[in-house]
C-alpha cells in the first residue's frame, strides 16, 4: 500500500493502481469519458480527466498515471478546469444535443460532466459541426449515431476485449472518424448479447440496440 495525498486528504492505495480509479473510488469525482475499469493501456483520448501532480510541469491525465508513494494530487486547480471545460465544449460542439429525444437522457456522460463543470450544453462561442456520414443502417442489431458519438473508444475496448472475433473499429479519419462494424455477417456465433455488451459501454447512447 502507498500513501498519497488527494486534495490534501491522505489516501491509501495500491502501488501501481490507476490514479483515476483511485480518485473515483475515494469520492473525488474527476470528469472522464474514455476510461473503463481494468484497462491495461488507457487511450487517454477524451482529455477530460486532468489533475495536477506536485513536481509535474502541467496538468496530466489521471487515467494514465499509476499510483506511487508520496503522490500529491490536486483535482480542481484553475488550469485543470480550463482544460476540462475546453475539451467538453469541443465535444459538445460536434454533438447532437437533443436530450429530450435521446435514450441516454439523465444517464448521459456528457450531461453529468457539463453539470459538474458548469458548462452549458450548447456552448455559444463554438460553431456547431455535424458529420454527414450515416450510421450503421444495415447492421442487424445495432444502431449508431455519428453525431452523438464522442469517439471515446469504450465500445471498442469491450468489443476487442471479449472472446472471439471483434467487429467494431474506428473507420475513416479526422473529423470524419466514426465507429464502424465490419465482418459481423460472417460471425454466426456472435450473439445478440455480445453486441449489446459493447453498446452498453457507450456513455452517450451513440451506439445501442436497434430498437431503442
Amino acid at each position: 500500500m502507498a500513501k498519497i495525498l488527494i486534495d490534501k486528504k491522505e489516501i491509501e492505495a495500491k502501488e501501481g493502481a490507476n490514479l483515476l480509479q483511485v480518485c473515483l473510488k475515494n469520492g473525488f469525482y474527476i470528469p472522464n469519458l474514455c476510461h473503463l475499469e481494468g484497462m491495461d493501456s488507457p487511450p487517454a483520448s477524451c482529455r477530460l480527466c486532468f489533475v495536477e501532480i506536485e513536481e509535474e510541469d502541467g496538468p496530466v491525465t489521471s487515467c494514465s498515471v499509476t499510483v506511487r508513494a508520496g503522490l500529491k494530487v490536486t483535482t480542481d486547480t484553475p488550469p485543470v478546469r480550463r482544460l476540462q471545460r475546453s475539451a467538453l465544449k469541443l465535444l459538445l460542439s460536434a454533438h447532437d444535443v437533443d436530450c429530450a429525444r435521446c435514450p441516454a437522457n439523465k444517464k448521459c456522460g456528457l450531461q453529468t460532466i457539463a453539470r459538474f463543470l458548469k458548462v452549458g450544453l450548447k456552448p455559444k462561442q463554438l460553431e456547431q459541426l455535424r458529420k454527414e456520414t450515416e450510421g450503421m443502417e444495415d447492421h442487424p442489431f445495432l444502431r449508431y449515431d455519428p453525431n452523438r458519438c464522442v469517439l471515446c473508444g469504450r465500445c471498442l475496448q469491450v468489443c476487442h476485449g471479449k472472446q472471439g472475433q471483434p467487429f467494431l473499429t474506428f473507420a475513416k479519419r479526422g473529423f470524419d472518424t466514426v465507429i464502424a462494424s465490419y465482418g459481423e455477417k460472417d460471425l454466426s456465433n456472435t450473439t445478440y448479447q455480445e453486441f449489446t455488451a459493447c453498446a452498453q459501454a457507450c456513455p452517450v447512447a451513440a451506439l445501442g440496440p436497434k430498437n431503442d
Partner: protein, 185 residues
C-alpha cells in the same frame, strides 16, 4: 433487357472470381506480418482498382488479424476504395473555384441522372461518381473530368449530353457486336 442484365451479372461474378484467385495467388509473396497490411492492400488496390469485402477478409485471415481491423486501417487512407470503379469514372471538381461556380449543382445533376451518390457506381458498373478537389483549370469552372478528358464550363444540359453520348456509343457497339456475331455464322 433481362437477358442483358443476366449476362452482365454473370460477367461480373466471373470477374470477381478471377480477381479473388489473383489475390490469393499473390498473398504468399508477402510475409505474414502485420507490417505488410498496407502493402497488401496497396497491391490489391493497384491491380484491381478497389478492395472488395472478400479481399479484406482474405488479408485479415492471412495476417491473422480481425477483418474489422483491416477495414479500419483501409478506411483511414484516401488511396483505397471499397466499390469497384465504374467503366466511366466521372469526377466532379469541388475545389474553391468550382465550388463558387456551383460545382455542387453539377454533382447533384450527375447523381440524380445516374441515380447514385458520389462514391458509388451504377448497378451495371458503367458509371461511377467521385468528387475531387481542384483539378487545376479553375478558369473553366465548374469542371468535371470524364475518364481522362476534362470538361469545362459544366452545365446541367452538358450532364445530359455526356451520359447520352456514352449510351449511344454503347448501343452502337452492341449493334456492331451483334452484326459481327451474325456475320461469323
Amino acid at each position: 433487357m433481362s437477358e442483358t442484365t443476366k449476362t452482365t451479372n454473370e460477367e461480373i461474378l466471373a470477374e470477381e472470381k478471377a480477381m479473388l484467385e489473383d489475390i490469393a495467388a499473390r498473398l504468399s509473396g508477402f510475409a505474414r506480418e502485420r507490417a505488410n497490411l498496407v502493402p497488401l492492400l496497396q497491391m490489391i488496390q493497384e491491380r484491381h482498382g478497389y478492395l472488395p469485402p472478400d479481399a479484406i477478409n482474405m488479408v485479415a485471415e492471412y495476417l491473422e488479424i480481425a477483418s474489422c481491423e483491416v477495414y479500419g486501417v483501409a478506411t483511414f487512407y484516401n488511396q483505397f476504395r471499397f466499390t469497384p470503379p465504374g467503366k466511366h469514372q466521372i469526377k466532379i471538381c469541388l475545389g474553391t473555384a468550382c465550388h463558387v461556380k456551383g460545382g455542387d449543382i453539377i454533382l447533384e445533376n450527375f447523381e440524380r441522372k445516374l441515380e447514385i451518390r458520389e462514391g458509388e457506381i451504377t448497378p451495371d458498373r458503367e458509371f461511377g461518381i467521385d468528387r475531387v478537389a481542384c483539378v487545376g483549370c479553375c478558369a473553366l469552372a465548374p469542371v468535371a473530368t470524364v475518364d481522362e478528358s476534362v470538361q469545362g464550363h459544366m452545365a446541367p444540359s452538358k450532364v445530359e449530353g455526356i451520359i447520352l453520348g456514352f449510351q449511344i456509343e454503347k448501343e452502337r457497339e452492341a449493334r456492331e457486336k451483334q452484326k459481327d456475331d451474325a456475320g461469323e455464322k
